[in-house]
């Protein structure tokens, strides 16, 4: 019997800034504001990672899955080989309607940028795989690319949305991809990173995303090992060497595959303590006890504040004992989430309401009318 090698994986540890802005009326805006806001939290990062998730940026391709690919490797040769290998897979498994290099500014301004490409595509299922839903099919192919093709990583895969990330301060990443000029989104989430232990690499920056769900995260997940084995049982391969990945996969498992509402998902990721559950009325107690029994391995332990982006929705959540900051605010149709209130005030000095959500309590902003972004 072949010996199973040790599960040698490493978890990165980082402290960070997070920011999110959403127009609930569905009006799109460029990244200039969020870039100023995140730059205001410059000292919360150390220039080793920054990234953006933007929703509503590809209205002309809104029916197609937008894959953002990163081809790494030391030489251009390695990158092109990875690209060729990937494209062979895409040809067989998808119908690609359009692809291009993601536009960017002068490469010399950045540290070791990989080749970054985008593909708009539809699944082309054959044989047994026809039984899979489009989403299941896409997820399985992403797992295949990320684990099997060396130097190729799918880091964004939703419809009408995209992630942009890399090594550098977030405001630099924003400029590199010209997010303040080229894209209009109704939701922007941003991340500035302060990793303490991993070598910086472009794939390790936030956001992490799967289909249209993206996560930016500040904190460290102490339950990583437990969360990871549970998700692996459901076919999620954790390849990006970071704990944030498990939150993205947990959100995908619970929200997309198991169709649980966000209130329930929050109670799984950051459940109330047993003392509080024991004091609840019978039906609530039964619900929360059952949730903790069944989904105990998905409890995210340790400090975190996250912003989850999805089509038409932006959600903020902190760990149950609230070891990381998160401030929420509203002004007209605008909904903001931020590590620091000052960043919100910088781009919107007047606010209708500013509040600090309780630990484990989700704050949700939703589009008033989904149609506005689908047109």
């Amino acid at each position: 019997m072949p010996r199973i090698r040790r599960e040698l994986y490493s978890k990165e540890i980082c402290s960070c800034s997070i920011f999110g802005a959403m127009n609930q009326g569905g009006e799109r805006f460029n990244a200039a504001g969020v870039m100023r806001a995140i730059a205001n939290m410059h000292v919360r990062g150390n220039g080793l990672g920054g990234g953006f998730a933007a929703y509503g940026i590809y209205p002309h391709y809104s029916d197609y899955y937008a894959f953002h690919l990163m081809f790494t490797g030391k030489s251009m040769q390695d990158r092109l080989e990875a690209k060729a290998e990937l494209e062979e897979l895409l040809c067989h498994k998808f119908d690609v309607v359009y692809d291009e290099e993601i536009p960017h500014e002068d490469e010399s301004t950045m540290i070791d940028p990989p080749l970054i490409w985008r593909y708009f595509l539809l699944p082309h299922k054959r044989g047994e795989e026809e039984a899979l839903s489009d989403e299941e099919y896409i997820v399985s192919k992403i797992m295949q690319v990320n684990t099997k093709i060396e130097n190729a990583y799918v880091f964004s895969s939703g419809k009408n949305m995209g992630c942009f990330k890399g090594v550098g301060y977030p405001e630099e990443i924003g400029q590199y991809f010209m997010l303040d000029r080229l894209y209009q989104a109704y939701t922007w989430t941003v991340h500035g990173r302060f990793p303490t232990n991993t070598q910086a690499w472009w794939g390790g920056a936030h956001p992490f995303s799967l289909l249209d769900t993206s996560i930016v995260h500040n904190g460290e997940i102490s339950s990583y090992g437990t969360n990871r084995w549970y998700l692996e049982m459901y076919g999620y391969a954790c390849t990006l060497q970071t704990d944030t990945e498990v939150i993205a996969y947990a959100a995908d498992l619970l929200m997309r595959r198991q169709r649980l509402p966000i209130d329930i998902v929050a109670k799984i990721l950051a459940p109330p303590i047993w003392n509080a559950i024991d004091r609840m009325n019978q039906s609530e107690r039964k619900l929360l006890t059952t949730l903790r029994m069944v989904y105990g391995p998905l409890l995210m332990n340790g400090p975190f504040a996250i912003i989850i982006g999805q089509t038409g929705r932006m959600i903020g959540l902190t760990d149950r004992i609230r070891l990381r900051p998160l401030t929420a605010a509203r002004r007209g149709d605008m909904f903001y989430l931020s590590s620091e209130e000052a960043s919100i005030r910088l781009i919107s000095p007047e606010l209708d309401r500013v509040w600090t959500p309780n630990g484990g309590e989700p704050v949700v902003g939703e589009l008033n009318n989904m149609r506005t972004v689908l047109q």
């Binding site: 010996r3 199973i4 460290e220 339950s223 090992g225 692996e232 649980l260 209130d263 047993w274 989904y295």
Partner: protein, 504 residues
């Protein structure tokens, strides 16, 4: 026949301190100490001494010291003193050498080669004295997916969840049967379990009728190959039912409670005639395959109206992980695995010291196997055999166990000194005996308090260690090998444990 075996222990009596009170004579059931009225002094026969230290602790003048007698054989790495003495005993008796307690041989104790993690800076450690620290655990099958209907603010669970045991701390008392241990020891375990929010396991000797109402709710009742003391009430008064297939101290071997230990109450509880030997066959005579086990699991579920989780206890042997996976698929809600160092009331020494595998490796390979097959949710794992302290519990859980059983540790809390003479029925500490004179020495109020204190102390220590790792709920430690590092282990051992080496 003249015995050529040296005494194992040396008894040193300080004649100046000794007051000739004859306390030591009364304390020793082995008849080591006798009073010589002519000389007015106590004589000690070292050949009878078990080294249980009872007389030492209870001597009012602290006049006695009992210590291992040094060996005067010519030193020989191959022929140790133990090998020589065992061989001589067999030459003198022609019998199997019996022993009690767990394997005492120097096989690697992996607990002592695993180190725990702690938080620094990026992930704040949590102070369990200020913040909630949750050790509550549910043992039993969980569904993969929950079907929930949500509408107008109301959430309803549609998925039926099978029966689970709720423990307030992941430490349960391992199977020790009434008959093997005294009524008072058995009752103390029951009381302490109920007091501490955990469970005790009745072992295969039944549950005395008068204890069922009060302690049934914290009892895991065992169904073993001898089928002693089983009736519908026994099964239904309990919190869970455990099918005992194997025991870590003696995998592949049955049990034998000698007729002398079968007193009237033991006989009633076991439903056998008084004074007859209670023999548990090596296999269950209705289980010769996994299908047969599946039928017994289903029969017990039927008998308990699907209201109790069914556990199956097996010894950790070479291919046990594949067997355990079959047991989960056969319908078991809990798998209890008992490792190489698990204890016993009586076992052939050759078996105890040579059969099975260490529990640390077993936990890890079982957890990995069940995860690999995607059925880890369908059962809980209780690890037994060689858990000595709270850190062992934490490491067991991080390797993938849901909870642990403690046997020897609980007995030690009540006074046991691991003298390994359990099989003689003469336990001077009143634990492993049915002699009313000896078992009366164990005060149930005090013994149950000692056990409850042990559970409380370990729980506090577990909370401290969890807090240090920045974790405030035990479920976030389960299978979390990220918090473990090995020291002084070979690569293959790290592979089996699934942990990194220290500094990696």
């Amino acid at each position: 026949m003249k015995s050529f075996v040296f005494p194992e222990f040396q008894i040193i009596r300080d004649e100046e301190k000794c007051g000739q009170c004859r306390g030591c004579e009364r304390q020793c059931a082995f008849g080591t100490h006798t009073y010589d009225p002519v000389a007015d002094r106590l004589i000690s026969d070292e050949t009878k001494c078990a080294g249980c230290q009872r007389c030492v602790i209870f001597c009012p003048k602290h006049a006695i010291v009992v210590r291992p007698a040094p060996s005067f054989y010519r030193p020989n790495a191959s022929w140790s003193r133990e090998k020589l003495d065992d061989l001589k005993k067999q030459a003198e008796t022609g019998g199997v050498i019996l022993t009690g307690s767990g394997n005492d041989k120097p096989f690697r104790i992996y607990w002592d080669h695993i180190l725990l993690n702690a938080s620094q800076v990026t992930n704040p450690s949590i102070d369990p004295l200020r913040e909630p620290m949750e050790l509550r655990t549910f043992l039993g099958a969980k569904p993969d997916i929950m079907d929930i209907s949500a509408g107008d603010g109301k959430v309803e669970i549609k998925t039926e969840i099978g029966p689970n045991l709720m423990v307030e701390t992941p430490i349960l008392f391992s199977a020790m049967s009434y008959g093997a241990i005294s009524y008072n020891a058995f009752g103390s375990l029951a009381r302490a379990a109920c007091k501490s929010g955990t469970y005790f396991n009745t072992g295969e000797g039944g549950l005395p009728k008068e204890m069922r109402q009060e302690f049934g709710r914290c009892a895991i009742v065992q169904v073993a190959s001898g089928r002693f003391g089983i009736d519908a009430e026994y099964l239904n008064c309990a919190a869970a039912v455990e099918i005992k297939v194997g025991q870590g101290a003696k995998p592949g071997i049955g049990g034998h409670l000698p007729g002398e230990k079968v007193s009237q109450l033991v006989a009633e509880t076991r439903m056998i005639p008084q004074g007859t030997d209670a023999i548990s066959p090596a296999p269950h005579h209705d289980i010769y395959s996994i299908e047969d086990l599946s039928m017994l699991i289903t029969a017990l579920k039927e008998a308990t109206n699907y209201e109790k989780p069914i556990s199956v206890k097996i010894a950790a042997v070479h291919n046990f992980a594949a067997i355990a996976s079959g047991i989960v698929r056969a319908g078991a809600d809990i798998i209890a695995i008992d490792g190489l160092r698990g204890g016993t009331g009586a076992a052939p020494k050759a078996i105890r010291d040579n059969v099975g595998i260490p529990i640390e490796l077993a936990i890890s390979s079982l957890d990995r196997r069940l995860r690999g097959e995607g059925i880890r949710n369908r059962c809980s794992i209780i690890a037994a055999g060689g858990i000595r302290c709270s850190a062992d519990v934490v490491k067991a859980i991080a390797l993938g166990a849901d909870a642990v059983y403690i046997g020897s540790a609980a007995l030690i809390a009540m006074g046991c000194t691991l003298c390994q003479k359990c099989y003689t029925g003469k336990c001077n500490w009143g634990i492993c005996t049915t002699d009313p004179r000896l078992s009366g020495r164990l005060n149930m109020d005090i013994a149950s308090q000692r056990l409850a204190n042990l559970i409380s102390a370990w729980s506090h220590e577990i909370a401290e260690m969890l807090g240090g790792m920045g974790i405030n709920a035990l479920e976030s430690l389960r299978g979390n090998r990220d918090h473990l590092r090995g020291v002084g282990l070979y690569e293959w051992e790290l592979d089996v444990l699934g942990i990194k080496g220290a500094g990696e």
